[in-house]
Symmetry: C2
Subunit: 342 residues, 2 copies
């Protein structure tokens, strides 16, 4: 009998549930628009969809468990959602307990960025790599750290918050209570904010025109205009690249990992920010320079014989969903984080 | 038969060699003033001292091996010193091979800050802690990362360079080729530089007087004056604390470790920089706030039930020497990093 698992991606604006085979193939996916403020309603909808998928595929396959990716900081020991700027009203909510109580199947909770990292490691840009870090550039900036094949949770289950790496101590205030966090320069929200600032300064006439014509004016429009060569839009992605470069340089200097994966919606704008990001990395990380430079007359290998890879994610918006479904299928990982014996 | 090991601390200005029991007790220590530029002479002196200690204590104890702490980035696979701003002329020098060739005993090479971290974990401020990071504030700022009981070397053996965490992208140029690195604000060298800058600005009359009276004017004098209340000296340690706070906040946000240890000569000035450091940490790390704040009416525990500890090192200048001697006595660690079968 084949194994399958159910993955849940609880986003700030949508709820997605999928049955996934042990090979990684998505059997079926359910997407519901969710009013996240209505917490109990979201949990009910989620559990209904899980039950539907579970009963359908249990006929032929064995259900390994349910993995849920949640946008926030989770207390891994208790399965409580501690803090989530994108899920107001969910603070200190016992997510794992609530779902397990309704479904009676082991639930494996994970931060959504960690889940995305697991997804990219399993089937995406970091296949075959045991040590990696993923940055998810979306509404916020999430981070997931995989060390020796497993998510590094840290003492209180709060590790991997790369989005709150400090880029500018006097910078833009952040929802986390700090200021100048990476998230304030490299998220979709930040790109839109920087565009509005540029428009307000009067120095971005094309962005101003685009905004006046488009009620849905968003980071995607800014990206589109940067691709078309608009200087003000390009300057914004230059700022995105600089901030990412500084954050990645710090990560490389501290962790010296082989692979860093950049995903999330903003990664679609890769061509507009990656050159600045890599240039900034070279400026701020000696280790990056040593592990990427090829000496003159060499055989193409870096001086250290090892290569630091910075790459785009491959799984798109499914990374977190696929990674969440992977959780119940990783016994070693599961043992460390589930409250239910498996 | 008891085991002992020989630890070597190859500093920028001194060479220290010790025979250390498996309990951590130092049996005997030899210190030589070393002209580090004369590389072969340093290696000869080191090997002479190692031979002297080895033959003396081999009569009663079994020699586990030789551990050497080196100030620089080491290629762990080959035992080459890749880069060391404090050991000019040693770049790409096969340190391990040279010593093993002369002595015929397994040699375990380690970055000096990593060795200090192992020392503090073994017998100092991080006893009983499996995950920790040590910052050594000396001529430079070294960093050592211990994860699950072992040094985290990273892909190319270059991990733990916390001294090159970026504090200010437009800041002071650093020997690593970057600018605004922690090392430029929290090392003894940086403290002296900031004092000279304050004197040159004409706004530090007491520091100017101290410098004119003391040909050995150093960070220690600046510390002394800060302790006595001199405003200009206090401002310098405020800068030290701010820089450390920002770097530690990034570490905490990414790794969420239970313990961070601050050592090296500058740690003697703890009282003058620690308050600013902890205040800055609170400002820039949500995780630090959650893992240290005690809720009103609580039992004194933090909200997460886990506590982030930032503490002074306990072993003083012996941390690196003791940690180096520990290397041959850690079979798990040794297997990963020695070129010689043990």
């Amino acid at each position: 009998m084949n194994q399958f698992a159910i993955g849940v991606d609880l986003g700030g604006t949508s709820l997605r549930i999928a049955a996934v085979e042990s090979s990684g193939k998505i059997l079926e996916k359910i997407t519901t628009g969710t009013e996240v403020a209505r917490r109990d309603r979201v949990i009910d909808e989620m559990c209904d969809a899980v039950r539907t998928l579970a009963s359908k595929y249990r006929a032929t396959d064995e259900l390994a468990g349910i993995g849920v990716g949640v946008p926030g900081i989770i207390d891994m020991a208790t399965g409580m959602l501690r803090w989530s700027p994108n899920l107001p009203g969910w603070q200190d909510y016992p997510v794992r307990e609530e779902i397990e109580g309704r479904i009676g199947t082991p639930v494996f909770l994970e931060n959504d960025a960690n889940a995305a990292a697991l997804g990219e490691k399993w089937l995406g840009a970091a296949v075959g790599v045991d040590d990696m870090c993923m940055l998810t550039l979306g509404t916020g900036v999430g981070g997931g750290l995989v060390l020796e094949g497993r998510i590094w949770h840290g003492m209180a289950g709060m590790a991997g918050e790369v989005g709150h790496t400090n880029i500018d101590p006097d910078g833009v205030p952040c929802g986390c209570g700090s200021r100048g966090c990476l998230e304030q320069y490299a998220s979709a929200t930040a790109i839109k904010r920087m565009a509005l600032e540029a428009i307000a300064s009067g120095k971005a006439p094309e962005l101003a025109r685009a905004m006046s014509q488009d009620p849905e004016f968003s980071s995607k429009v800014v990206h589109q205009m940067a691709s078309e060569g608009d200087a003000a839009a390009r300057a914004i992605f230059h700022r995105v690249g600089t901030a990412l470069g500084i954050a990645l340089a710090d990560l490389i200097n501290v962790l010296d990992l082989p692979t860093y994966v950049i995903g999330g919606g903003v990664a679609a704008a890769w061509d507009t920010f990656a050159p600045t990001m890599l240039e900034t990395l070279k400026r701020y990380s000696y280790i990056y320079r040593v592990t990427t430079a090829t000496p003159p007359g060499g055989d193409g290998a870096s001086r250290s014989g090892k290569k630091t890879v910075i790459t785009r994610a491959l799984l798109g918006s499914d990374a977190g969903l696929i990674g969440a479904s992977r959780l119940p299928m990783m016994p070693e990982h599961a043992k460390r984080v589930s409250g239910v014996d498996v």
